[in-house]
């Protein structure tokens, strides 16, 4: 059995190394710094993609498995990294999105870039670590690392609003971390091990009240981190305060990572039957659906473009969590497809909102006036992605929402189906509000010849990588919508992992 796959360590070490280089890049020229940043993210993407291509046959037969162990195998506490099809899928989509976000930020961030990129790559390292890890304590460490390193990124612009948002984010994140720690330590006291696979084998030995306690604390921790309804206040503030690429990272990428951790914990480690036995699955399902509805409704009243997008994120994440709780194959297919779709669409929307309103400090709806006339093509891209989020047929949002709807209907859960439809309709209303505002004609002050020349020169001087990234996201939304069958293989193998956790457990323990 192959248990010394050094690639897994490389995947975590490479962004960390890039972060160190980026911190010292204040002595470099800007071009060299951008080169290092893009190369670092590019090598990461290349590594993960080559893992997929080299092991294509194994992935196809669903026996793809890589493992790396630090320490002795049979001790209770050992640092263990493992990669199966589910982690491969998440690692792949996350790294792809992060690569594009890095390219966008090379032009968007204009001061203190070295600090920005150092923190950004540390977050990437922590994300990869939390996806690849196979024991609980390392998972806890990486989750806390993500929370700590994203906080300075949220307050990057240093105004009162961003500082408050960052502080609130940190308070909630650390409270969630404490709950996670309690649950983890309870497992250690009861079972004497922290390896997820070993926990999975002997979780049924714990008495039922203790199982309930452990599961409730895990749920609390993850509900806080995911921003599900009763504890969602921090999310729109934090996600709207930060610079646009960080909004894309938090809303597009990080929420999916927490969803992955949710799946890892409640399907691989604690088998889903325990949730069903304790009658918690129906509770979480309804909570997620209510959260979805509330997120969409609050998006209606948000007067701030980024806040609206963040509330819409709450709506989508609630829907994905709800459909995953159905625990059927169709539900997993819809949920995983919507995870990919939402990752692409929300990152694209946040990046284009950052581009459209890069001159103004606030993102108020009035600032959008006439912006559709100024940057025509970018705004058309924005509308296209908006339509994808609503669920227009040729785009990927339609495909994923269709499968989610089918899963709800197959499970005869009509409230869920209603929420999917209602969410789309409400989303149509709040996106239209912004789009109509953008096409409002404004009386343009006639520029003097000199000023006009000035603005023209600005356009030609900038190479506009930012625009290119937004177009790439738009094209991906259209392309994957037309050929969503491309995801059939990775998604189906990931579903295989979710339905047969036994394979993961045996391979980790047998390593």
């Amino acid at each position: 059995m192959s248990w010394m796959n050094i690639e897994l360590i490389l995947l975590i070490a490479l962004p960390a190394l890039t972060a160190v280089i980026m911190y010292f890049s204040k002595y470099f020229k800007q071009r060299l710094r951008n080169f290092f940043a893009i190369t670092g993210a590019g090598i990461e993407l290349y590594l993960i993609f080559s893992l997929f291509v080299v092991n294509y046959e194994a992935v196809k037969k669903s026996d793809f498995f890589l493992q790396y162990t630090i320490g002795y195998q049979n001790t209770p506490f050992v640092i263990n990294f493992a990669m199966d099809n589910l982690s491969l899928l998440f690692s792949l989509i996350v790294t792809g999105a992060v690569f594009l976000i890095v390219i966008f930020s090379t032009q968007y961030i204009r001061d203190k870039e070295h600090r920005y990129f150092a923190l950004f790559f540390l977050v990437l390292a922590a994300i990869q670590g939390s996806i690849l890890t196979a024991d609980l304590f390392t998972l806890y460490l990486f989750i806390e690392t993500i929370t700590i390193f994203t906080t300075p990124l949220i307050s990057f612009k240093k105004t009162e609003e961003t500082t408050r948002a960052a502080m609130q984010y940190l308070f909630y994140g650390i409270t969630g971390g404490i709950f996670f720690f309690i649950s983890m330590i309870l497992i250690y006291f009861k079972l004497g091990t922290l390896k997820m696979a070993a926990v999975a084998e002997s979780f049924s030995l714990i008495s039922a009240p203790m199982q309930l306690t452990i599961i409730i604390f895990f749920l609390l921790a993850l509900i806080i981190k995911l921003g599900i309804f009763p504890i969602h206040f921090w999310l729109p503030r934090a996600h709207s305060a930060c610079p646009a690429p960080i909004s894309a990272l938090l809303s597009g990428v990080l929420l999916k990572v927490y969803l992955y951790i949710f799946m890892r914990l409640f399907w691989t480690m604690i088998s889903f039957d325990f949730l069903v036995n304790l009658h918690l699955n129906a509770f979480v399902l309804d909570l997620a659906l209510v959260s979805s509805l509330i997120g969409h409704i609050f998006a209606l009243q948000a007067d701030n473009l980024k806040k609206m997008l963040a509330y819409s994120s709450i709506g989508h994440i609630g829907m994905i969590l709800a459909v995953l709780m159905l625990n059927t194959e169709a539900a997993f297919y819809g949920g995983l497809l919507h995870i990919i779709a939402h990752l692409l669409m929300k990152s694209g929307l946040f990046l284009s909102s950052g581009y459209l309103l890069q001159r103004t400090l606030s993102h108020h709806i009035d600032d959008l006036k006439g912006i559709g006339h100024k940057n025509r093509l970018v705004f058309i891209a924005f509308i296209t992605i908006c339509l994808g989020t609503i669920g227009m047929p040729p785009l990927i949002g339609f495909v994923s929402k269709w499968y989610v709807l089918l899963a709800f209907l197959k499970a005869r859960h009509f409230f869920g189906a209603f929420v999917v439809g209602a969410g789309s309709i409400i989303a149509l209303i709040y996106y239209l509000r912004y789009i109509s505002q953008a096409y409002e004609t404004v009386k343009s002050e006639s520029l003097s010849l000199k000023e006009e020349f000035f603005s023209l020169r600005e356009i030609f001087n900038s190479t506009n990588i930012m625009k290119t990234v937004i177009y790439i996201f738009t094209l991906l939304v259209i392309f994957f919508g037309l050929s969503y069958q491309l995801f059939e293989l990775p998604v189906n193998t990931a579903i295989f992992e979710l339905l047969n956790p036994q394979k993961y457990i045996e391979l980790v323990l047998g390593g």
């Binding site: 506490f77 806390e144 307050s155 500082t163 940190l170 308070f171 650390i174 404490i178 309690i182 250690y188």
Partner: protein
């Protein structure tokens, strides 16, 4: 059990300070109190009255305390210290902008 009781009291005190108090510094203290309660509980539970798990090679040790919870707690303390530092930094920043560290007075400003 006595340590359970102390854990509950400390944890609830911390939770009270985090949720009810409006002074942000008191909130940070509350958060740290919650962490400290959890760590205290872990350490007191893992202590079974045995020896420290570091011993000489030839020595026969029949009963020793589990070192893993202690290692976990040490790491947890490091995380707690760094988050407290980060939070206090943010509070200083906030004080520069708004001149207050009271949550209720902040709430009235915007939102």
């Amino acid at each position: 059990m006595f340590n359970n009781l102390i854990f509950i009291i400390l944890f609830m005190l911390g939770f009270y300070a985090l949720v009810i108090k409006t002074n942000l510094i008191k909130n940070v203290i509350g958060l740290n109190l919650m962490e400290a309660a959890v760590f205290f509980w872990v350490i007191s539970f893992s202590d079974i009255g045995g020896k420290v798990s570091i011993h000489k090679l030839g020595e026969e040790v029949t009963k020793f305390n589990d070192p893993v919870p202690q290692a976990l707690t040490l790491t947890g303390i490091v995380i707690g210290a760094s988050t407290a530092a980060l939070l206090l930094t943010l509070i200083i920043e906030l004080n520069k902008f708004s001149g207050t560290i009271d949550r209720d007075q902040l709430e009235g400003l915007n939102d």
